[in-house]
């Protein structure tokens, strides 16, 4: 089955939950508004349905191979990449100076949802190019920018991120790859693993961003620098020179995202160029990390939406059970199948609301002229990012699991495609910082570091919502407040508390944010219905979906609070050899 972008819900969230028109007005973006976003989503949806989605299954069954010329991507991917680039989709967020459209981040997010849902393995490639553009755009010299940004924005070249090494995964302080100065450039040597789209034949060049150490660099995270290492060395006039010593050694065999080549990369005295200043690699990575982590969180939404569309169709078509008159019953009439579909639908709508609201905070921080307000929004981005990455991807495990479950035995058979979504989703809680890393970020850098101030402001903002018609909201919000207070007051006396409570705090905040934004959306839908505006069927469904989430998912926040309050005792009590 193909995929149809849910542009109606995306447009509703932009208009009524994100309040995108107000954002654009305040930012002074005259020609950008929700109507423009809607036309962009419409065309993106069409492209995704007709061009990207049809190759999703084929890519799963025909992964890339490694040959003498390097990695050969799945047949047909080069063509879809080229039409994707020609249509200008890579230039969406790039600066006008470098051939971009300079559109707000939240539009890019809404469009990326569509790419990732249509064909996640493919969409990882442009996603990494966006990440590379982000890093180069923020930190590289203007000279490097003017060579690399226009070619990345046009899609002529793609980008990769080379961070992980065999001994340096979550712990980047252990990076060993070396960079030796050589005239106007550096020679990079070392091995990197898990490099997504590290090699392919779709474009004439590939821009690797590589973390490496200079010979005199201090130990640990303060001695890591960030380099551009192109597959083909770029001459001063922008033309391509010799093949650089940056090669794919082997491809991983993975559980999912089969069509995305995951490369072991060998850099053997490869020519590289320093981005920004020496030894600042890690802070540079952090500036793009919010973007990259939110982008992976968004993949959790996308893969869930795709799984939902497949399960919904199956539930309508699959006949099991017979009525008294002899006619057969589609399984969607059974309450338990409804329950599963409603968990999927309401979870997806909550994810979409949170992903877009978080993405819009990036814009609110960027365009705000008042520095206090800009700082407020920047802090909100920091706070939302681990929740978006952690909660959306964790929830996507449950939702793609339900996608298989609704199919019954047929879901376990690869033929229906439900299993692919389940397998593809599994990487999401792992790459770009595991769930544990996101939760540690939330409890440490985002909560304990500022004495819970940012989290307190968010909870206070939630308390302003008139949720009298939603009785479960107050206890869920109270759970958020209690979790914050408990962690702040016990972290000092129990060094294991933060680590023990972190994932529960992240999940609690995810369910709470989702409920908050769904209720806001439901209230906007009710207003529209009262005024006779909009599509009544969609709006009524929006209200009912929020009600389901309120009844069935929101109170999960309370069990997460209970686990937080249990502290670290039982978690840490066993001796290691008792495991």
């Amino acid at each position: 089955m193909t995929y149809l972008a849910n542009s109606q819900d995306a447009e509703f969230v932009l208009r009524h939950v994100v309040q995108f028109d107000a954002l654009c007005e305040r930012a002074g973006l005259d020609e950008v508004n929700t109507d423009l976003a809607a036309s962009i989503l419409e065309e993106a949806g069409k492209f995704a349905t007709e061009v990207l989605a049809p190759l999703n299954r084929f890519g799963d069954q025909n992964p890339p191979t490694l040959g003498e010329k390097g990695v050969q991507e799945t047949a047909g991917f080069k063509e879809i990449y080229q039409s994707f680039a020609e249509a200008g989709w890579l230039s969406l967020g790039a600066a006008e100076e470098f051939g971009g459209q300079a559109l707000p981040n939240v539009i890019g997010t809404a469009v990326n949802e569509i790419w990732q849902a249509a064909n996640m393995s493919y969409a990882l490639c442009p996603m990494l190019s966006q990440g590379a553009m982000e890093s180069i755009g923020h930190h590289a010299s203007h000279e490097l920018q003017s060579i690399y940004l226009p070619r990345l924005a046009s899609g002529g070249w793609t980008g990769t991120m080379n961070l992980t090494e065999p001994d340096a995964g979550s712990d980047l302080a252990a990076v060993k790859t070396k960079a030796v100065p050589q005239g106007d450039h550096y020679l990079i040597s070392g091995q990197k693993i898990f490099i997504t789209w590290g090699d392919h034949q779709m474009t004439e060049n590939i821009v690797h961003l590589v973390l490496a150490r200079l010979p005199d660099a201090p130990a640990g995270v303060k001695g890591i620098s960030l380099f551009i290492v192109p597959k083909y060395v770029v001459n001063a006039d922008g033309s391509l020179g010799a093949r650089n010593a940056a090669h794919c050694l082997s491809l991983e065999h993975k559980m999912g995202i089969h069509a995305s080549p995951t490369c072991v990369m060998l850099f053997d005295n490869a020519v590289g160029y320093l981005i920004g200043e020496a030894n600042k690699g890690l802070p540079y990575m952090f500036t793009m990390m919010n973007h990259a982590r939110q982008a992976v969180g968004l993949q959790g939404l996308s893969i869930s939406e795709r799984a939902y569309q497949l399960a919904r169709q199956y539930a309508k078509d699959r006949l099991q059970g017979t009525r008294r008159d002899g006619s057969r019953i589609p399984i969607i009439e059974h309450a338990d199948v409804r329950r599963m579909l409603m968990i999927m639908k309401s979870g997806i709508e909550a994810m979409r609301a949170l992903a877009f609201v978080a993405a819009a905070e990036v814009d609110r921080a960027r365009y705000e002229s008042d520095s206090d307000k800009a700082a407020f929004h920047a802090a909100r981005v920091e706070l939302y990012t681990p929740i978006v990455k952690g909660w959306l991807t964790e929830l996507s495990q449950e939702l793609t699991y339900l996608g298989v479950q609704i199919h019954g035995g047929m879901g376990y058979i690869e033929e229906t495609g439900a299993a692919q979504h389940y397998r593809d989703a599994r990487i999401l809680t792992i790459y770009e910082g595991t769930t544990g890393i996101q939760a540690a970020d939330l409890v440490g850098r985002k909560t304990l570091a500022d004495q819970g101030q940012g989290l307190g402001l968010l909870l206070a903002e939630m308390a302003e919502l008139d949720a009298s018609a939603y009785p479960n909201f107050a206890p869920a919000l109270a759970a958020g407040q209690a979790a914050r207070e408990f962690i702040l007051s016990h972290a000092a006396s129990d060094p294991q508390l933060a680590g023990s409570a972190s994932v529960n705090l992240m999940m609690l905040m995810g369910y709470l944010c989702g409920g908050w934004l769904l209720i806001k959306g439901a209230q906007a839908a009710q207003n529209q219905l009262a005024q006779g505006e909009g599509d009544p069927e969609y709006l009524k469904a929006k209200v009912i979906t929020a009600q389901f989430y309120h009844d069935h998912l929101l109170l999960r926040a309370l069990s997460h609070l209970a686990a937080i309050k249990a502290g670290s005792a039982a978690i840490m009590a066993l001796a290691e050899d008792q495991f």
């Binding site: 193909t2 149809l4 020609e31 109507d35 423009l36 036309s39 962009i40 419409e42 065309e43 069409k46 492209f47 349905t49 007709e50 061009v51 039409s83 020609e86 249509a87 200008g88 989709w89 230039s91 969406l92 459209q101 599509d535 009544p536 069927e537 969609y538």
Partner: protein, 250 residues
């Protein structure tokens, strides 16, 4: 050369069409709408003529409620220069009424070429282009699979029963487009942005001096009968017997 392209907002081709429970019409509530695929081909052809230096301006016109502006913007993103929206509340106008409205627009715009899709996929009437040609007394070529402009003439290849027919039309002329004429492009993101800045003029049937009379009444819409399951036969002879006597196809 100026080209006018008439376009229609219809139910999206990928949507599974449902009939309303009272059988009064097709159910359009909460359904994705899009530019009629044949109209999209007409817009694409106009844009290609402009890119080839044959046309200088492309004006798209549609008739319908405010939402139909979306399809004008989509056509502008493909490359049309200007839009005209004739506002009507009714989405079920007779083909003759549509042709009369279009005739007025064509008289105002004075294009050399008018392109229309050969039919809309919602009601499959295949009438508007022909009626428009009659009202304007312009030459017409329907079901076009190739359009070449040579001086004051359009050389149009038509798909007809049993083959292809080539007609030479003196401009101004009406051409309706068939599926094989071209493959519409995917819209480019920068062009979506540009489309927002293009002129879209609104007008009404009253301003055009056309009354919306109805000469056709929709009585009932029924879904096609559900397909019956197949049967298995024991032998080739039984198969032939079934084809002859049951299915009556040989």
């Amino acid at each position: 050369m100026k080209i006018v392209v008439a376009i229609k907002r219809v139910i999206d081709y990928s949507v599974k069409v449902r009939v309303k429970s009272d059988q009064s019409n097709v159910d359009l509530a909460n359904v994705k709408m899009a530019l009629n695929p044949f109209c999209e081909i007409a817009v694409e052809e106009a844009v290609r003529l402009k890119e080839a230096g044959k046309a200088t301006e492309i004006v798209v016109v549609t008739i319908g409620p405010k939402a139909a502006q979306d399809q004008i913007r989509a056509a502008m993103a493909m490359g049309a220069d200007r839009g005209i929206w004739v506002e009507t509340v009714d989405t079920e106008l007779d083909a003759l009424t549509v042709a009369k409205l279009l005739a007025k627009v064509v008289q105002n715009e004075q294009p050399q070429l008018v392109l229309l899709g050969k039919q809309a996929i919602d009601s499959d009437n295949n009438q508007t282009g022909q009626m428009l040609a009659a009202l304007l007394d312009y030459p017409q070529a329907t079901f076009a699979s190739k359009v070449v402009i040579e001086g004051n003439e359009a050389v149009v290849t038509r798909e007809i029963d049993g083959g292809l027919q080539t007609l030479g039309l003196t401009l101004p002329a009406i051409v309706t487009t068939d599926l094989r004429l071209n493959e519409p492009r995917y819209v480019k993101l920068p062009d979506i942005m540009k489309a927002k800045k293009k002129t879209l003029d609104a007008t009404t049937p009253e301003a055009l001096g056309v009354s919306l009379q109805k000469s056709i009444k929709l009585l009932k819409v029924e879904a096609p009968a559900e397909r019956q399951g197949g049967i298995k036969v024991e032998s080739v002879d039984a198969l032939i017997d079934c084809l002859k006597n049951k299915a009556r196809v040989i």
